[in-house]
């Protein structure tokens, strides 16, 4: 697999097209849930994402988002939305941390597919420091939204 192909793995390209959880307006937030929202801008490119999380009893019921950006950022939003729904807040936080470490590793850390699921496909991104922000954009937004939901 070429460097480029390891960046744009098929899973990433697929997620970037069939975007899980995309559309804040399409489905209402579950009633009774604690809601948190976060809007993040990638300052290098100007791309933006808005994420809404709904938390019930420490469990994430729903992650919905709107945004526009490159394949990496859209796929990352799709993946966390899929991965996060149904997770405990603490567990997802831990996964976000694991993902962040993976992204910062400059290719030195092996992704654990058991923990990260489809997000393991992003390991190639860590070799492209300029693209790490793309992968992190929605994940950071989820992190902030969770903090708001719990505040």
């Amino acid at each position: 697999m070429s460097e480029l192909d390891s960046l744009y793995q098929q899973i990433i390209l697929d997620h970037s097209k069939a975007r899980q959880g995309s559309g804040l307006a399409t489905e209402p937030a579950p009633v009774g849930a604690r809601l948190g929202e976060s809007h993040q801008i990638n300052t290098t490119c100007g791309d933006e994402v808005t994420v809404r999380v709904a938390v019930v009893d420490g469990k994430i019921e729903q992650i919905r988002w709107d945004g526009d950006g490159c394949a990496i950022s859209m796929a990352a939003a799709s993946v966390i939305s899929e991965l996060g729904e149904g997770e405990g807040v603490g567990e997802l936080r831990a996964k976000i941390e694991t993902f962040r470490e993976l992204m910062r590793s400059r290719g030195t850390v092996e992704a654990d597919e058991d923990v990260l699921g489809d997000a393991a496909a992003f390991s190639g991104v860590s070799k492209y420091p300029a693209r790490v922000k793309c992968a992190m954009l929605a994940w950071v937004a989820v992190e902030h939204a969770l903090a708001e939901a719990e505040a």
């Binding site: 744009y8 490119c45 100007g46 490159c70 394949a71 693209r131």
Partner: protein, 440 residues
């Protein structure tokens, strides 16, 4: 006044483009062009962001440090006198290149600083600094500053801030869908309230060359000051600022073979001499007490503190390099490559080039959108082939918004760019949509 475009002051096409052999000779002066990235040879198509620097320019700077480095305009020992002579000779070289007088050339860090210098000097004038002579630069509520929809942020935000500081209003001339200035609207907008017209000579996204002569005429009619952003024209076309009859112009050395950290603000002599200072400190004063200071005439009034001496020396050498190549031929070459870019891109499916269509005048660049693929992914794909292009909003967000885009991919050329490089770029672009699985 007619809204048709008048010819630029020196029409294109009167000089032949370079032969490929000549370009090969240029390339030998730029070792970086021989490097490889990702295991393939570099194809550098990002000169509109920053150009590469030839060995002779580096050598001029090195020579300065090995033989004459000293603080200029301050010292009186031999070394300082020599350094001052070299520094002022560099100013004269730039003046000659731009069709200006040496006293009309102020050194800055880059074009951005030149624009901020003007905006802050005008707001100092608005506060009464510079007295009666500087009143013509003072702005107040009701006054208008006019820019265009195609400006680089550097020629937009400083004016927004000036408007904020003085209460003046910022207005803008819209563009056509083809990325040309709407002169009919310009005529309507530039009116009695207009005090400053700030406009780019050539667009760093569209490639459009604006009709400066017409715009100056509109501004003169109402007594407005005209600032020309020459960042993308000075590197690519012969410029004669006196002939263009603009009041101010800014440019950056790093876009025209010089190192980073040096630029020029041009101002008509009597204007610079009447403007209040911007940066204050050493080397720009006559008498200082604890309470106040009196200032030197231009250009030194605007050159506070120790200057970018070796960078100025290098800039002069860069300009000599361009003069030796011939600016009319540089223009012909860039324009030929620019056309090749637009024509090649127009032939591809799902590609939308912004700016003037093929066959119409443009500088050596083309920015485009790839349907279904984000510009950063396009850039990444090209980079994998060793092709360096710029992606994003190119510091022109309002323009992109007007075009209905958030980002584009831009390829730009210079005198060292080969036809083969343009062709390699075009064939790579042809593969982008397939790679990302976009088929529609």
């Amino acid at each position: 006044m007619a809204t048709t475009r008048s010819a630029p002051h020196a029409p294109a096409g009167d000089a032949p483009a370079f032969a490929d052999e000549r370009v090969a000779l240029f390339r030998a002066d730029f070792p970086i062009l021989g490097r490889s990235v990702n295991g393939v040879p570099l194809v550098y198509l990002d000169s509109a962001a920053t150009s590469q620097t030839p060995l002779g320019v580096l050598e001029a700077e090195r020579h300065f440090y090995k033989h004459e480095n000293a603080a200029v305009n301050r010292g009186s020992h031999t070394l300082a006198v020599e350094a001052t002579d070299t520094f002022e000779a560099a100013r004269a070289t730039l003046a000659g290149f731009l069709g200006a007088l040496p006293e009309e050339i102020v050194w800055t860090s880059n074009a951005t600083e030149g624009l901020n210098l003007l905006a802050y000097s005008f707001s100092n004038a608005s506060l009464g600094r510079g007295g009666q002579a500087a009143r013509r630069f003072a702005l107040q509520p009701g006054d208008e500053i006019v820019v265009t929809e195609m400006e680089h942020h550097a020629n937009l935000i400083p004016w927004q801030e000036l408007a904020f500081r003085t209460g003046a209003t910022l207005r803008f001339i819209p563009i056509t869908d083809d990325g040309e200035l709407r002169l009919d609207e310009a005529e309507r907008i530039i009116g009695d309230r207009t005090r400053v017209l700030a406009v780019t000579h050539a667009s760093n996204v569209l490639g459009t060359i604006n009709p400066v002569v017409d715009l100056v005429a509109l501004a003169r009619r109402v007594g407005a000051l005209v600032l020309l952003d020459a960042c993308q024209s000075a590197p690519h076309l012969p410029l004669d600022l006196h002939a263009l009859d603009v009041d101010f112009a800014v440019l950056s050395g790093h876009k025209m073979l010089a190192p980073t950290g040096i630029g020029v603000l041009y101002g008509r002599r009597e204007l610079l001499d009447a403007m209040p200072p911007f940066l204050t400190g050493g080397s720009m004063i006559t008498t200082v007490t604890m309470e106040q200071a009196e200032y030197l005439p231009a250009p030194h009034r605007f050159e506070a503190g120790t200057q970018r001496v070796s960078q100025a020396v290098a800039f002069a050498e860069a300009v000599r390099y361009l003069e030796a190549a011939g600016m009319d031929r540089v223009r012909a070459w860039d324009s030929q490559l620019g056309q090749r870019l637009v024509e090649g891109l127009a032939d591809l499916d799902g590609i939308r080039v912004v700016g003037p269509e093929a066959g119409r005048e443009r500088i050596g660049l083309a920015a485009f959108d790839v349907d279904g693929v984000h510009a950063h992914d396009v850039g990444q794909f090209l980079d994998d082939r060793g092709i360096a292009v710029r992606v994003g909003h190119h510091c022109a967000q309002p323009l992109h918004r007007r075009l209905g885009l958030t980002a584009t991919t831009r390829a730009s050329t210079y005198l060292y760019t080969t036809t083969d490089e343009v062709d390699a770029f075009l064939s790579a672009v042809a593969e982008v949509r397939g790679y990302f699985g976009v088929t529609s």
